[in-house]
């Protein structure tokens, strides 16, 4: 069914392309990417995904005949540069904006609200979800870090009980990046662990620039760790995974889990054998799990002589995030509304179960909740690739039950 839908959409866009081959006034989208900064390793494929999606839409007739003009620059993960570029692009007439990091998105929140620019960032910090209050124009296109953590704990706990263990013996240690990004999911994880009756919960920051984490692992061991959850980028997580395996002697001792910024191909490459068995809370379907939504990105990349596996799941992430934003613009135009921030925001807020062909869970925004979804599936590293380990775990559904 979904496949037909995608084919239908492509056919429609193609027809639109034939009729009104990009005659309209361009629609400007602003973006800041981290291509050469500290998160450049994952920022580059994300940027490629955003650019590829925009090019694909343009090659297929644009949005209702209007081409997209992407104004984008590398900002090196520098907050001040992001501010400059944001202001520059807004003054050049962008109607929506694709951001990147937690720091710069937070720094821009007030400006975004004031300029009324719908904003999708690659930061999934729950503090950005405040549509009625301080962040009316920020949309979270993926499961928040807190929800990722909670889903990961639910999944780990279920397996733990399944194996005949007692929840009171389960001891979770969260290793996190030493920054607001790192600490973001800790409170929600802790609250859930306590409510669920899990034996212990401890969070340990990973010092920046460390060459090993043995001291931190020692601390976790003293705590009696059974499960580790990492909220860090893949380099920090991979080093930790190697250290954990060295310390405990095998992958079997401790259940190791990563939230989305370390559960990727880079982690597997860097951690090598130590990655085996790692669980990943990934809102975007890994490239090694086939879904319909990957068909077009694969074709686009093939034309460039590349594969989706090479481009990595962060390519998919950029692609899907842009797809959501572009869909908001398209629906605004189709409703005959003027292309303004408030109109696009209102249209996005009516989006219900928008399908990206399985690239991510269906997207639903409401005026009260700018989190696209509270669901994700848990994946697991098996023979060096990510395979699906659970069905979609949906916190919205679980909480209404």
């Amino acid at each position: 069914m979904k496949k037909y839908l995608v084919v239908l959409v492509v056919a429609c866009l193609w027809l639109v392309g034939l009729v009104g081959a990009q005659t309209g006034e361009p629609i400007k989208i602003g973006a800041v990417f981290d291509l050469s900064g500290p998160t450049g390793d994952v920022g580059t494929p994300y940027a490629e995904g955003v650019i590829a999606y925009v090019n694909w839409v343009n090659e297929n007739g644009g949005i209702n005949g209007r081409p997209i003009e992407l104004l984008s620059q590398d900002y090196k993960y520098d907050v001040a540069t992001a501010e400059n570029l944001y202001k520059q692009f807004v003054s050049q007439g962008v109607v929506v904006f694709m951001g990147w990091g937690t720091g710069d998105t937070l720094a821009l929140v007030d400006k975004i609200a004031e300029d009324q620019i719908p904003f999708i960032s690659a930061s999934y910090s729950a503090s950005l979800n405040d549509p009625q209050g301080s962040a009316p124009y920020n949309f979270l296109v993926a499961t928040t870090y807190g929800d990722q953590m909670e889903i990961m704990i639910r999944h780990m706990a279920a397996k733990w009980v399944e194996a005949g263990n007692d929840l009171a013996d389960m001891r979770i240690v969260v290793f996190h990046n030493d920054s607001p990004f790192g600490t973001d999911p800790v409170p929600q994880g802790q609250a859930y662990a306590e409510a669920a009756g899990i034996g212990g919960f401890l969070s340990i920051p990973q010092p920046r620039g460390a060459t090993d984490f043995n001291a931190e692992i020692q601390k976790a061991d003293d705590f009696g760790v059974t499960h580790i959850i990492v909220q860090n980028v893949s380099s920090g997580a991979a080093l930790l995974a190697r250290n954990v395996v060295d310390y405990f002697g095998s992958n079997e001792e401790i259940v190791f889990g990563c939230l989305n910024w370390c559960a990727d191909e880079l982690f597997v490459t860097r951690a090598g054998a130590a990655a085996e068995g790692t669980l990943g809370a990934i809102p975007f379907t890994p490239t090694t799990v086939e879904v319909e939504g990957q068909v077009i990105p694969r074709e686009v990349l093939k034309a460039q002589g590349r594969t989706l596996e090479e481009a990595s799941l962060h390519f998919t992430q950029g692609w899907a995030a842009t797809a959501v934003m572009v869909e908001g613009i398209r629906r605004t135009l189709e409703a005959g509304l003027e292309l303004t921030g408030p109109n696009i925001r209102a249209t996005l807020e009516q989006m219900e179960n928008f399908e990206t062909g399985g690239l991510m869970a269906p997207v639903t925004f409401t005026p009260e909740d700018h989190r696209s979804t509270r669901a994700l599936a848990i994946y697991r590293v098996e023979n060096g690739i990510w395979v699906q380990d659970s069905e979609l775990i949906d916190l919205r559904a679980l909480e209404t039950e």
């Binding site: 720091g103 030493d178 607001p180």
Partner: protein, 362 residues
């Protein structure tokens, strides 16, 4: 002018003048005229970049007082900027202090903190002192990241970035400092002018001369009766005051601040500014700030022009261009230092000397 073989002063007043020659006075008038006219010629975004340059110039002058004039190396610039920025911001957010007062208070707090971290300077020199100031950087960053109220809270939940209320110049709603770049431009220029005049004059007083004496030969200075401990800590305090001022200006210029603006990278960038511009020189600090802040913007706009005119592919834009830009930036800094190790200031005076001595330069 050209026939004179020197500058003669016949009165004490003329001897004490800051700008004794006509050429200097003409230049000053030209500079002021340029500053007044500039915003009319460029876009709001370009004014924004100039504003950042002026804030950086104030911070660089502060650092140059410590490093260039007093010879005390500091890697804690980012931390002191943060103290000024958060000092100013927290006073506004939690105590509703008017912005002007908060700005000054932030700078004063930074002066105290700077003086405190300057205490080890009596016992430590050179690289050892650099490492001690590095500790300041780490400690301040750690406090900002870990202590939730510092980044502001909404309903008891940490927000990870301190939201700065809007501030208006002379209470005029059209002159919002974190939005109207023109208003901020004239304001920050006045601040910069006061800082420049104050700093230049500082080195005509016995305080400034003591700083320079400590830099040149601390033992000789002590023998001459310069109280090393007092003047070193004073240099830290004065320097930090200006750095804190720059931090506070950053706050007033922004809608939100977070620790990511004040990392060790910032400390190093400021050191680069004063080294490229010219150590131990006020104008050098300004040239350095211009160089380090504007060059990446120029490289970025070249990159943008290449992409928009389809001269490079998207693939090159994403994977190659950023590194070419960074590489070029680094190369230009190295080139600058090879051409003139004493900085842009020396380069400028070389050019002036060439014309002054022409055609008989030897």
């Amino acid at each position: 002018m050209a026939t004179q073989s020197g500058i003669y002063h016949q009165t004490y007043e003329s001897d004490m003048q800051l700008r004794p020659t006509t050429a200097q006075r003409v230049r000053m008038v030209l500079v002021i005229a340029f500053v007044l006219v500039l915003p009319l010629l460029v876009s709001q975004n370009e004014v924004r970049i100039v504003n950042k340059v002026m804030i950086a110039a104030i911070g660089a002058i502060g650092l140059n007082i410590l490093v260039g004039y007093t010879g005390q190396i500091s890697l804690g610039q980012g931390a002191f900027l943060a103290v000024g920025a958060y000092g100013c911001g927290l006073l506004m957010v939690y105590f509703q202090v008017p912005w002007g007062l908060a700005l000054m208070a932030g700078a004063l707090i930074t002066a105290v903190v700077g003086g405190l971290f300057g205490l080890p300077s009596l016992r430590l020199k050179g690289l050892y002192l650099a490492v001690a100031t590095l500790a300041a950087q780490q400690i301040v960053e750690w406090i900002i990241i870990r202590w939730d109220p510092i980044d502001g809270t909404i309903d008891g939940k940490a927000t990870d970035a301190l939201r700065i209320p809007s501030n208006f110049l002379f209470g005029n709603s059209a002159w919002r400092l974190n939005d109207n770049e023109y208003a901020f431009y004239y304001f920050v220029f006045v601040v910069l002018a006061i800082v420049v005049i104050g700093s230049v004059n500082l080195f005509r007083t016995h305080y400034g001369r003591a700083f320079i004496a400590i830099r040149d030969q601390d033992i000789a200075a002590e023998v001459m009766g310069v109280n090393l401990f007092y003047y070193k800590v004073l240099a830290f305090a004065v320097s930090s005051f200006l750095v804190g001022l720059a931090g506070g200006l950053t706050t007033i210029h922004s809608t939100a601040i977070s620790f990511e603006r004040f990392t060790i990278d910032v400390s190093i960038a400021y050191l680069a500014m004063i080294i490229v511009g010219g150590l131990g020189s006020i104008s050098g600090a300004i040239y350095g700030a211009i160089f380090i802040e504007i060059l990446p913007e120029i490289l970025r706009s070249i990159g943008q022009a290449l992409v928009q005119n389809r001269l490079v592919s998207d693939q090159v834009f994403v994977t190659v261009l950023p590194f070419v830009q960074q590489g070029t930036f680094g190369l230009l800094i190295i080139l600058m230092l090879i051409v003139e190790p004493e900085g842009i200031r020396k380069l400028w005076s070389n050019i002036k000397d060439y014309f002054r001595l022409w055609p008989f330069s030897y």
